[in-house]
């Protein structure tokens, strides 16, 4: 949204039109407000079609890729355990519990192993935001973990 800076008072109507034009299948399934009128309370919903979007839709794969890239680029040589903690901090504003950390680490290691055996898949999986200075299977494993973190209920829903 960097490029969209208005000078002077905000032209409200145009903003509404802009938002209305963003409507997509995603906004239907995620029950976004149509912004035709004030929305006091969003409808609660929780359907498998939403899960399919956040798991499989291209924009969420891109988001996972960008999240992993950010983790790695800002890691300053930090260890895996520290990077996992950082991922939880960015996504959930808290540190992982020990058991959560273990689960995340296990997924990271399994994914790393799988992509090591399937470098072509690793390449495809990370092609959304390529990263030069890291073995592609290593990067792919982090994208796989980042994708699961942004699918956590705690990340999707504000309680």
């Amino acid at each position: 949204m960097e490029g969209l800076r208005w000078r002077g008072p905000l032209p409200k109507r145009d903003v509404h039109l802009f938002q209305a034009n963003l409507a997509s299948p995603k906004s239907d399934h995620l029950r976004l407000s149509r912004r035709q009128f004030a929305c006091v309370d969003r409808n609660r919903s929780n359907t498998p079609l939403q899960a399919l979007i956040t798991l499989n839709n291209e924009s969420f794969s891109e988001a996972a890729c960008a999240f992993a890239k950010r983790l790695i680029e800002n890691s300053d040589g930090r260890s895996d355990p520290e990077k996992i903690k950082e991922a939880f901090r960015i996504a959930l504003a808290r540190s992982p519990l020990a058991s959560e950390w273990e689960q995340a680490n296990a997924l990271l290691m399994d994914s790393r192993q799988w992509y090591r055996e399937h470098p072509e898949e690793a390449k495809k999986w990370t092609s959304r935001f390529p990263l030069a200075n890291l073995p592609v299977e290593e990067y792919a494993a982090w994208v796989a973990l980042a994708r699961i973190i942004i699918n956590l209920d705690e990340f999707i829903t504000r309680e």
């Binding site: 409808n43 929780n46 359907t47 899960a51 979007i53 839709n57 959560e100 209920d153």
Partner: protein
């Protein structure tokens, strides 16, 4: 504050609330010698802990007739006076006003009382089936199913505008935040399908102005809400894994996701987290089941033609029903509904919002009935031929009917439409244990009011639940300190509807 401190506080707060109703309840129940806890009462949280799948099949209260429901919601309110309930007297009185005392206390959506006059119907009527049921000439295909149809001419609503009326029809009361019929059924009976949602919503044309409130789960956990399929293009998107994410790794990731979400659930005790877990697991299974469901290539040409899947557009396509090739999506939705019934989907809501004919009634009704008549009749015959009609309740109806008075809005030269009419309207059902070939209820000579066997909405709901083996008085959910029912504080089972 340290984030972990915040979590601890949240945990402490949740412990206090859940232990008050959880541990305390357990203690009370064991003192009362009731190990199951409150008999018929079905508590969401206990249910989740006991069962990994919140939509697992549950036994009904007594032997059911119906297992599935296809609810063909004709939103906007079709004119019963031009389709199902012939009124020769209304034609005689065409152009005459009603006595003032009849309309004195009535609220209309648009009609101006001072100058309102009755409007006859130009439709031609004939009797069909062994039962001799009346249908107008706009429904030639449906008329051939007369002996399977229970025609209810005495429905009554308390609401004279669309959305409140649709809420009353869907939830039993014209209020936001209540569960819809499909939610109550999946809450009471669970889902028969492991790989598809228990409650699906299909729309044609304009979609639904009532929106998600017509398939909401209200205060029930959101896994009982209807799942809206798309009405243009592919019904379900994102069924394939993203590039570079193979099936085995998808499953591996989902295992971690499930485990982390379960841990969160055990801390927070929020049933919505259990819903989320169920949604992801169902999403994964849908990735293989849904493509098969929506692929119609296995259907015979005869079947596809019967539903009118590829029908050319009507030469006089017109009005609010003619949006986004509604004739194609409605036919496809009817066929998809049958395929879903075969695959165990409990409740399929097929919405066609097209019937609000305040003007141009004849033209628009001609088109809308052309859209629905062939596919709906095909659906009934198809279900019957496959032996599914006995256990599948098909409902065709709307939030109210239309007035015997013509609509005379300011600035109009002539009356060409009818206004909203909640006092007496027609809804029909077939299959699922209803007694077909029957006309129930009666309206007066001009179709203004009910003269015999009025059916309040709560009675309709009580009977619908009864067909599914559910006692509407026992199917309850405690919310905000009291037990709620689909039938609110009313409801009688109409035994004469039962086969």
């Amino acid at each position: 504050m340290d984030p972990s401190q915040h979590l601890e506080n949240a945990l402490r707060r949740n412990f206090l609330t859940t232990s008050a109703s959880g541990l305390g309840l357990a203690a009370l129940c064991s003192m009362l010698g009731n190990e199951k806890g409150f008999g018929q009462q079905r508590s969401g949280i206990d249910e989740h802990l006991a069962s990994p799948n919140p939509l697992a099949k549950k036994p009904p209260h007594f032997a059911p007739k119906a297992k599935n429901c296809i609810f063909l919601l004709q939103a906007g309110a079709p004119s019963q006076l031009d389709l199902f309930d012939p009124k020769p007297k209304l034609n005689e009185l065409h152009g005459k006003p009603l006595p003032a005392e009849m309309v004195e206390k009535v609220r209309f959506a648009f009609i101006k009382k001072e100058s309102a006059v009755l409007m006859g119907s130009p439709r031609k009527w004939s009797k069909h089936g062994e039962c001799g049921m009346d249908f107008s000439d706009f429904l030639p295909n449906l008329a051939t199913c007369a002996d399977d149809i229970l025609m209810i001419r005495s429905m009554q609503s308390e609401q004279f505008n669309h959305h409140p009326g649709q809420l009353l029809l869907s939830c039993g009361r014209a209020t936001f935040g209540l569960p819809t019929i499909g939610s109550w059924l999946t809450y009471g009976l669970g889902s028969e399908s492991d790989n598809l949602p228990g409650y699906v919503v299909l729309t044609s044309g304009r979609g639904s102005s009532g929106g998600a409130s017509l398939w909401s789960s209200g205060f029930l956990p959101s896994h009982y809400a209807g799942v809206l399929f798309r009405h243009e293009g592919e019904p379900v998107l994102n069924l394939s894994n993203p590039e570079g994410m193979p099936a085995e790794l998808q499953r591996r990731g989902l295992d971690t996701l499930r485990s982390l979400n379960e841990q969160r659930y055990s801390e927070m005790q929020d049933p919505e987290i259990a819903s989320r877990i169920a949604s992801y697991e169902l999403a994964f299974r849908m990735q293989s089941a849904a493509p098969e469901l929506i692929d119609l290539r296995g259907e015979s040409k005869q079947t596809l033609d019967a539903y009118g899947i590829d029908r050319p557009q009507h030469p006089e396509a017109t009005g609010r029903g003619n949006v986004a090739n509604a004739h194609l999506s409605f036919a496809r939705n009817c066929l998809l509904a049958r395929r879903m019934v075969e695959r165990g989907v409990r409740f399929i809501n097929v919405i066609y919002e097209a019937w609000d004919q305040h003007s141009d009634l004849d033209k628009d009704l001609r088109y809308n009935t052309w859209v629905v008549d062939q596919p709906v009749a095909a659906l009934l015959k198809d279900l019957k031929q496959r032996g599914l009609l006995e256990s599948t309740l098909v409902v065709w109806g709307a939030e109210f009917g239309r007035t015997p008075l013509g609509e005379n809005r300011n600035g109009r030269e002539a009356n060409t439409g009818r206004d909203h009419h909640p006092f007496a309207f027609t809804l029909w059902m077939a299959g699922g244990g209803v007694k077909g070939g029957q006309v129930y209820g009666e309206t007066d000579e001009i179709g203004w009011g009910v003269t015999r066997d009025p059916v309040p909405m709560n009675d309709f709901h009580a009977t619908l639940l009864h067909l599914f083996g559910l006692d509407h008085l026992k199917l309850t959910r405690r919310h905000q300190g009291r037990d709620f029912r689909l039938t609110d504080v009313g409801g009688n089972v109409v035994t004469r509807w039962l086969a």
